[in-house]
C-alpha cells in the first residue's frame, strides 16, 4: 500500500497555494504510507536557467562550498538555495550534465534528485507531516505537483527508495503497487545506458518511460507501452514540465480517484485526500479506467 496525490492547476490564482493544498492531501494519505514521503513540484522556471535538486545526509559538509566549487569548475555563476537536507542548485541551462559529473566526482554523498527547468523534488524518510515540515512544502508555489506516501515492499526504507523518482529532465513518477520484472528490465535499460541509481522497482518504471521518450515516444505512447512491458501492479502518476498523467495496470487493484473542476484536476489514492480542495463538492469525481492513459497539460 502507498498513497499518491496529485494536483494540476488550471486556475493561475491558485498557484501560490499549490504547496499548501498538496501538503494537506499528502498528510491525509499518511495511513497508506507512513515510511517516507516525497513531493515533486513544478514552478518558478526561469528562462535560460536550469535547476538541480540535490540531497545529502551530511548537508552542512557537502553543501558548504558546493556553489563556489561548481562555479569554478564550470566557469559559470551558480546559486544554491538550501532546504534542510536538500538544496536547489540554479545554473545556466545546458550545464546540468556537467554539474552532475562534478557532483559525482566529489567526496561525500550528494544525490541528484532531479534536474530540469521547472521541477524540484523533496523526499525523505519519516511521517509525511514531518517531511512536509522539514521542507516547508506548504509555502511552495507552482503550476502542478505530485506527492507520495510510501509503505515499502520492494526495497528498503531509505531516502533513495522514496518517491518521486526522476530519470529525465523535468520528468517524475510515483507509484502505488509493485513491479515483478524490474530486475530484468533494470539490466536491459542499464545496458542501453539509462541511469538507474537504486534497487527500487519504481525507479525502473520511471527509467523505462524516460528511455521510451528518448527513443522518440511521446509520454502518452510511453505510458501505453508500459502496459505491455511492465509486469506487476501499478497505479502510476507521472509529471512533466507541461502537466501530469495517470495510468493503471489492466487488473487495476490499486485504487485511484480523479476529480476535475474548472480550477484544477486532482488525483488521490482515495477521495479522502481531496476533501480539503476548494469546490470539491461540485467536482466531477470518477475512478480512472484500467489500462487507460489520462493526461492533462498546460
Amino acid at each position: 500500500m502507498c498513497g499518491i496525490v496529485g494536483l494540476f492547476l488550471k486556475d493561475k490564482s491558485l498557484e501560490p497555494q499549490l504547496g499548501a493544498l498538496l501538503t494537506d492531501m499528502l498528510i491525509t494519505m499518511t495511513d497508506r504510507g507512513p515510511d517516507s514521503a516525497g513531493i515533486a513540484i513544478y514552478g518558478a522556471e526561469q528562462d535560460g536557467l536550469a535547476k538541480l535538486t540535490i540531497q545529502s545526509d551530511a548537508p552542512d559538509d557537502d553543501f558548504a562550498t558546493l556553489a563556489a566549487d561548481l562555479s569554478t569548475a564550470l566557469g559559470v555563476s551558480v546559486d544554491l538555495h538550501r532546504k534542510d537536507s536538500h538544496a536547489v542548485v540554479i545554473l545556466p541551462a545546458g550545464q546540468a550534465a556537467a554539474a552532475r559529473a562534478v557532483i559525482a566526482g566529489r567526496p561525500g554523498q550528494i544525490r541528484v534528485m532531479s534536474d530540469g527547468n521547472a521541477i524540484e523534488i523533496y523526499k525523505e524518510v519519516g511521517l509525511p507531516q514531518d517531511v512536509a515540515a522539514r521542507f516547508a512544502l506548504s509555502k511552495m508555489a507552482g503550476t502542478h505537483g505530485i506527492g507520495h506516501t510510501r509503505m515499502a515492499t520492494e526495497s528498503a526504507v531509505t531516502t533513495q527508495g522514496a518517491h518521486p523518482f526522476s530519470t529525465g529532465p523535468d520528468q517524475c513518477l510515483v507509484h502505488n503497487g509493485s513491479l515483478s520484472n524490474h530486475n530484468n528490465l533494470r539490466r536491459k535499460l542499464r545496458r542501453d545506458g539509462v541511469r538507474i541509481e537504486s534497487e527500487n522497482d519504481t525507479e525502473v518504471g520511471a527509467a523505462y518511460l524516460t528511455w521510451k521518450m528518448q527513443n522518440g515516444a511521446t509520454l502518452g505512447e510511453a505510458l501505453e507501452a508500459s502496459l505491455t512491458d511492465l509486469d506487476g501492479f501499478f497505479t502510476f502518476v507521472v509529471g512533466t514540465k507541461e502537466g501530469f498523467g495517470v495510468v493503471r495496470d489492466p487488473i487495476a487493484c490499486k485504487p485511484a480517484v480523479l476529480a476535475e473542476t474548472d480550477q484544477y484536476v486532482a488525483f488521490g489514492s482515495e477521495y479522502r485526500a481531496m476533501v480539503g480542495l476548494p469546490g470539491i463538492e461540485a467536482a466531477r469525481v470518477w475512478e480512472p479506467e484500467p489500462a487507460t492513459v489520462y493526461f492533462w497539460s498546460h
Binding site: Y271, R272, V285, E287, P290
Partner: protein, 227 residues
Amino acid sequence: MQQIDLATTPLREMNETLQAQTGADNQTAWEILNPRGSHAVACGLDAPIEVTVRGHTGYYCAGMNKQAAIHVTGSVGPGVAENMMSGTVVIDGDASQYAGATGRGGLLVIKGNASSRCGISMKGIDIVVHGNIGHMSAFMAQVGNLVVCGDAGEALGDSLYEARLFVRGSVKSLGSDCIEKEMRPEHLAILADLLERAGSDAKPEEFRRYGSARKLYTFDIDNAAAY
C-alpha cells in the same frame, strides 16, 4: 430524524451508536453528515432502521449490513456492502471495486457505475447496477442475482457457480465457464421484481441471461477428493 455529523463526532462513536439501535424505539431514521470519504461508514448495523449518508465515502461503507436500509447520496470507495446479510444499500453515485463482495443476502443498488470485481464471490445477495460494471465481475459468484442495466467489462462471471447474471448492454467478454443462457419466464419475473425494487425503468425483455456452463474441474465429481 437523528443526525450525526462526522465533522464533530468520531467515526467509531457514530458506528457504535448505529450498531446499538434495535429498531424497537422511534429513532428509526438517521442522517450522517460530512462523511468526507471516511472508511467503514455505517458498518455492522443490525436493526430495521433507515440511514442516509450525505456525501462520498471511502472503503467498506455499509459492510456486513443486516436489516438496515442505507442510502448514500454520493459515491463509495472499494468494498461497499461487503458481506451484506440482509436489508438494502442504495448508492446514488458510483461504486469502486468489489461492490457487494461475498454478500449473503439483501439488495445492493448502484445508480451510477460499479468498477471491477462487482459481486465477486457473491453468496446470495442481489445487486442491481443502473450503469456499467468493470472487469472480472461476479468472479466465483455462488448464489444471487447480478443485474446490469449498462455494459459489462472483460471476463464476466469467470468460474461462476449458481448465481444468475443479467446484462442489458454489451458484455466485453465472458470469463471461463460462463455462457449465455435461455431467458425463461421465471427469470423475467425475478428481473421485473429486482428492477422495480431498484427503481429502474429498464424492461426485463431487454436483458440477456448468463450463467455457469458447469464444465470446470470443480464440477467434476472425479476431482472431489482433491479439495
